[in-house]
Symmetry: C4
Subunit: 192 residues, 4 copies
């Protein structure tokens, strides 16, 4: 298997994950404002999850791009990541229906925590594969610190939800913002 | 990331968007004409949305084809477009179930308006990237005017729905017709 | 746009069509034989549609392979075909739930008739594009006759369903059998 | 048709199969532990099926990689495999809802048995195609034995479920473990 094929399959799965979430947005049966307002939390949680999965997709490409060959370790680290990402539609639907319930918010945080952990393992696998190739080591090492931080934040969002769900939502909004900016910088560097 | 990969991922998402809408066409439980007539508006709104998304797909290709490199601006303009396009199945289902309700029709118009705006931003990003490359500037400039016009029409369809939904539906049918013809001309030119 | 991209997008849509039909197979809530027997018609209609769509996919590849360039005519003939194919999950679900109702069976036949017509138009477009290229003309001409015949058979299945649905089901099973064998011969020739 | 296209289409179908299963994980309407515990069997059966389909995907690649040309036999052996794999979401949902019912567990086992048989036929087709190419014959022959063994185990899981479903679940967990390890060894060899 080539890294191209791994990338194409992952792209397929991520494209489906990001799109099927919209199937869980059941449009209200009646067209009035109260009915539409009832689906607003589901729409917002969909928007947030779309953003988070989109960022994961971008990061995933930067990662797989670094890979030379598809080892069993890489293959299964990647499938492990796809598994946790595939749970995002489930927890998105759950939190959209129960956005004031600490348990739903905590579960959303935990699912994203496991995605972060899976990214951490995938990156570790790639760094191990890269060995002493200095050009590759520096970039992932910086990313790895940021990855560990966001994993810790997602993890902390779970117990925080039992204090107030707004603190957890603040974290869920903060992490995309945190990732977004440096990704921009990186892309700009790649042009130069 | 290469423009090929961006195109392939976008293709995947658009292929899913265009196809999952059919999942929201719940076939009637009983096989008689009154039951089938009840799903007719859903079928018609599906047909219209299929056409609109197909046109967007064609336009998207002509656009991405122009891109040289995947900058962060291009990447996120594209993901922004895919987000708004991913809402099309939701509003299609909504208008299919409530085709006489101004609010549902207005929401359908607004979703398409945001898609048009996202196209506008994506094209602007590409023109900025192309810089002074004269061959590229002329084509998008003409498209950009048409794009702005269709965005304005979609936007006007929202308040119009509160006067009569038929005016809005006329606009929804007019814009594909408007796009369809020139695309044909363009494709003919490309052959020559 | 290249024919590769057209093929990849069509592949994506057809892969989704063939797979999402399984989502409409709602597994029975209780695990006993009467409940399972109730979904048996849905399973059978799924199997039939899977076979029919798989054959369409194979034929589609042989067709697109012949194309030199993506003209507007080819693009929209292809999108027209994908539209009618995308209705197959809807009529499959409908006939699975109402397999003894002439109307559901007739509708299934009509949807496949429109798919056949779309194939006819697509092949006509390709033959027009091929012009006087003799190697290409012979193969599609033979296919075109078979295509017209199967379209006529699907069309006749609709009124026949009102006499007896079994005659229609016989036709639905006959056409895949008819297509299947020559495809095998063709593939054997391509090896030689 | 090239083997690349066959692989890409199969990838698309498998990516959809593996991802749409999550759509059948209906998130509980209320956010409390008893509601979440009710979906736990569905989550576990999803996890198991994800792993099984992922392994099938990996094996599928190793297989198709060996193919030289797309013959009708290969094409239809592959489509046959995709058909049985496409039933996995259906039986996963069924067993998730009825994990203590022998019939649901037996059906899950039977579906996987048919997938194994389809793999067997596909590998046989490839070995026939490879003919006397010694390098190719050794690897599939070893796999073929393992394949036949797992097919037999899946088949035995069906009657075993009527004794105790736990024995069947033990088999369902054992086979992925059995496949997982050698795949790792194989991938390591390919690196060397």
């Amino acid at each position: 298997m080539t890294t191209n094929r791994l990338e194409a399959f992952s792209d397929g799965v991520i494209a489906i994950i990001v799109t099927i979430m919209v199937l869980e947005l059941h449009s209200p049966a009646r067209a009035d404002w109260p009915s539409l307002l009832k689906v607003a939390p589901a729409l917002l949680s969909y928007g947030l999850s779309f953003l988070i999965v989109a960022i994961m997709w971008v990061n995933h490409h930067h990662l797989i791009h670094v890979a030379h060959k598809v080892t069993a370790g890489l293959l299964w680290s990647n499938l492990n990541l796809l598994f946790w990402m595939s749970l995002v539609p489930f927890v998105t639907d759950f939190v959209g229906k129960n956005y004031r319930e600490p348990m739903a918010v905590a579960l959303y945080g935990l699912a994203l925590f496991f995605c972060s952990c899976a990214f951490y393992l995938l990156r570790k696998e790639l760094m191990r594969q890269a060995g002493t190739d200095s050009k590759l080591v520096d970039y992932p090492a910086g990313m790895q610190r940021k990855n560990a931080m966001s994993a810790a934040l997602y993890f902390s969002a779970a117990p925080l939800a039992y204090a107030t769900v707004y603190a957890s939502f603040f974290i869920f909004a903060l992490i995309p913002a945190m990732y977004f900016l440096p990704e921009k910088k990186l892309a700009t560097q790649q042009q130069g």
